[in-house]
């Protein structure tokens, strides 16, 4: 099966500091790929470039055959709404909105009516065990609950790829395991691929395969293209 998302020969530097030097990544539909490496190795930068959040200095990122560098901001934004989902270490939730409104937000931005968007959002929250937290604001939720809301938000648009950057980094082991179980199950059920950046081997164990990033270079034992 050919890769859904391919990043090849990525270079990225911040001033004189090289974050990525010839890094590659390939993700097939429905698979979970972990990206591991020591702090400062460039794994988050690789995820940001692969998701189109950061423009690489050199190299190519293709998603479903489209070169992300060629897409306008509008198209890349649409991609993030419809095809991608994001879960970060800190939920990146909008503090002013309730949990269900946060989850419904990608749909609302895509023009879905509020009622329909919140109905779908409520479905995902129910599935992730957050039904009773729908009206709570992020500040009223625990760290684990916030991350589950973020997972629900990442899944609500039916993404093809979920980018998760240290999704359990700010959680205790029990909450972290709970979040990963939910993310894993939901991704398997919906057929979404997951790019999982982590330095925790227990989290990486959820992946089908893994790559390692060191000094801005990636090593893919499976050699997927």
């Amino acid at each position: 099966m050919s890769a859904l998302l391919v990043a090849e020969g990525l270079h990225k530097a911040y001033g004189k500091t090289v974050a990525l030097a010839a890094a590659d990544l390939a993700v097939r539909a429905g698979e979970i790929v972990s990206v591991m490496g020591p702090s400062g190795s460039g794994k988050s930068t690789l995820l940001h470039c692969a998701a189109g959040l950061t423009r690489p200095g050199a190299g190519l990122v293709r998603y479903a055959g489209q070169d992300l560098a060629q897409l306008t901001d509008v198209r890349r934004s649409a991609l993030r709404r419809r095809e991608f989902g994001f879960v970060f270490q800190f939920g990146q939730l909008v503090p002013e909105l309730t949990a269900v409104q946060n989850v419904a937000l990608p749909l609302r931005l895509d023009g879905v009516s509020r009622r329909a968007a919140e109905r779908r959002a409520a479905g995902w929250m129910d599935r992730l065990g957050l039904a009773d937290k729908a009206a709570a604001r992020p500040g009223e939720l625990s760290g684990g609950e916030q991350q589950r809301v973020a997972v629900a938000r990442a899944l609500v648009g039916g993404p093809k790829v979920i980018f998760a950057d240290e999704p359990t980094g700010a959680l205790d082991s029990v909450a972290g395991e709970q979040v990963m179980d939910l993310l894993n199950d939901a991704a398997r059920d919906t057929g979404a691929a997951v790019v999982l950046v982590t330095h925790d081997s227990r989290v990486a164990a959820y992946a089908d395969r893994g790559i390692v990033v060191r000094d801005g270079r990636s090593f893919d034992p499976a050699g997927v293209r």
Binding site: D73, R81, F86, Q92, L105, L109, G111
Partner: protein, 752 residues
Amino acid sequence: MRRLRTELALGFRLAFAGGRHGAVRIAMVASAVAIGTAALLLAASVPTMLDARQSRSEARGDNTAGEDRPAGRTVVVAAVEAGWHGDDIRGRLLWPDAPGAPRPPGVPAFPGDHQMYASPALQAALAGPDGGTLRRQMPYRVVGTIGPDGLSGPRELAYYAGYPRVRDRLGQGSWRVDRFGYPAVEEIGDGPYILSVTVLVTLLLPIVILLGAALRFGTDRRDRRLAAIRLIGADHRAVLRIALGESLVATGFGLAGGVALYLSARERAAAFDLLGFSVYPADVRPVPVLALATVVGVLALSAAMAVLGFRGVSIEPLGVFRQAAHWRGRLWWRLILPVAGVALLYPAILGLPDVPEDRTGLGVLLLLVSLIPILPYLVPAVARLLPHGPASWQLASEQLRRNPAGSTRAVTGIVVAVAGAIALQTFFAAAANRAVDSDDPGGPAFLVQFTGRQTPAAMRHRSALFEQVGGVTAGTVAQYVVYDPGNPVPEFVIVGDCAALSQVAALSRCADGDAFTTGGPRRSVTLDAGGSDPAPGARIAVPHDARRAALIGPYLANAGPSVLLTPAAATAVPPDVDPEFVDTGIFTSKEPAAVAGQLRGVAAEIDPLALFTSLAPETDFYAPLGSALTVGLALLLLMMAVGLLLDVAARLGERRRVLGVLAAIGARRSTVVWSVLLQAIAPVLSGLALASGVGAGLGALLMRMSAVPVRFDAPAILGPAAAGAGLALATTVVVLLPAAGWVTRTDKLRYE
């Protein structure tokens, strides 16, 4: 379209969901918009106010411009221009020639003999603590109130009194009208319109600054929120529209609040009176086009400020990126406005005549507005010139040099307001001094002109009546016009006792029977017959022993060679010839304002149609303007204080990370606090120095244009400057001290 609606709606939603911080932001923006909207709506109502006042004034117009009207269904009218505490009183004595004669507007019936209809303000003055003195000017019984359609404004002092004797004075102070509603002789010029435009523009500037500061308040939180929304798929335009929706909520509240504020001010409009100008609440209606322009303009301004707020800020999915300000300190384009201003003012600076008012107004405006681009150039220049100091100054100096626009944006409004205030206060102070200085101590303070012939004894009695008022001396002379059709300069024969004559001419010595000439000896003069056209009348011989004298005082300054006769020397003047005027010159050792009311009462008792003229100001004309300016400046500075407060808070929010990092690497809290404080002080002091220079220059120009001797009053310059400096520093300290702990916290750095 649906997405647009969704994004705007999301902005609305976020505006309401911001918790306490969001509510404060909405309140700030809404307050700024409300103040601005109300001020603009009031300015938009000025033309309507002027029109309403003008049409009511015209409806009661009785000035026939000298045309004679035959008696019929007509009214005989006489004007009594009285005064009270510096305000004019519009008095009319009238008597109908026949039943059914036209009545002036606002008067339900003709008042009977010695009855009057008075305006509410005049009735209040008559009932006031000093009403007895005022009543002497109008000893008529109040039988009714003049309605609003008969008054120019609610605070106008006016009355219509029934006085049958006006029919005996036709052509000598009274005239006949067949209707009311003659057009006003004096049209309202462009002055008030130019003034309202100037006020509008100068008001708009602080409002824009306040609005900008209010919209910047809390943007750091908003930007982080928008970055989170970017992450899940909002593009740049969507983010902009969401921010727009958010700002429109506050603007909407502000517009509603502004309309409420305007309506509230409108209801209280009748209580205000500036230089005799007052309006009824019903007059305060905005011109529809201007009202629409206000609403659209405020919405557009708010939208523009929201969009401009993203200048130099990039909202990206991974966070908010602020582009380091690239300061280009180019001077040339900053000089365009002041050069254009000086060019427009150049003729006025040179003192050339007939300089158009609008040209000068525009020049003043350009000079004031030019301070805005000049200040950001001046501040880094000052920072460069000052010596290196402690770390706090180094930090402040670097920030001032790198981003002077950011450091000065909230101060510019204060600087412009202070410069304008200095210019006007300097001018008012100099004008007030001139009024005191130019009060000729040798001349009379008042002049009362009567018509009709008077015997020397009657003239002495008339003087004595005025001298019953304490601290007053008076002299009465009769003036006869000399017939000399070829001479454009009027010549007079002036008759009075020695005391009275010595008021109008410098006499070395005088006794009854003496005669004097000014401008050379002459044997005889021919008096004018006294008709409407010049005609020769009686010829009288000038006593051969008449001595030379020189006329003095302001009211005969333009008279040609004249003859002065004491009563015993004036026997040649035929008793059946009427003098042109019988003038009583009144001197006082007291403040003119203290005795003016009583003297006006004496004059009215002698003859209600006497023409009473104050040669010395009864009140300081500029005092109410100066007071209004002080109140206006206080309000303006208050508005600025709110703007500055928000701006300092916003700047601290923006620089929180940098300040936190400074604290993290060991900077003392006092160093950080001082760096912020110095960063606020330097622009304020530089700006106020600039404002003082420009303000004093404009003040000097105003003095020159108004023929007031150029003189600088230290309090007029230092007062507004000190108020501006105090305000800016107090505001900064008020924000900074409580926030000192917050901005130097290091535990939040990781989350930034």
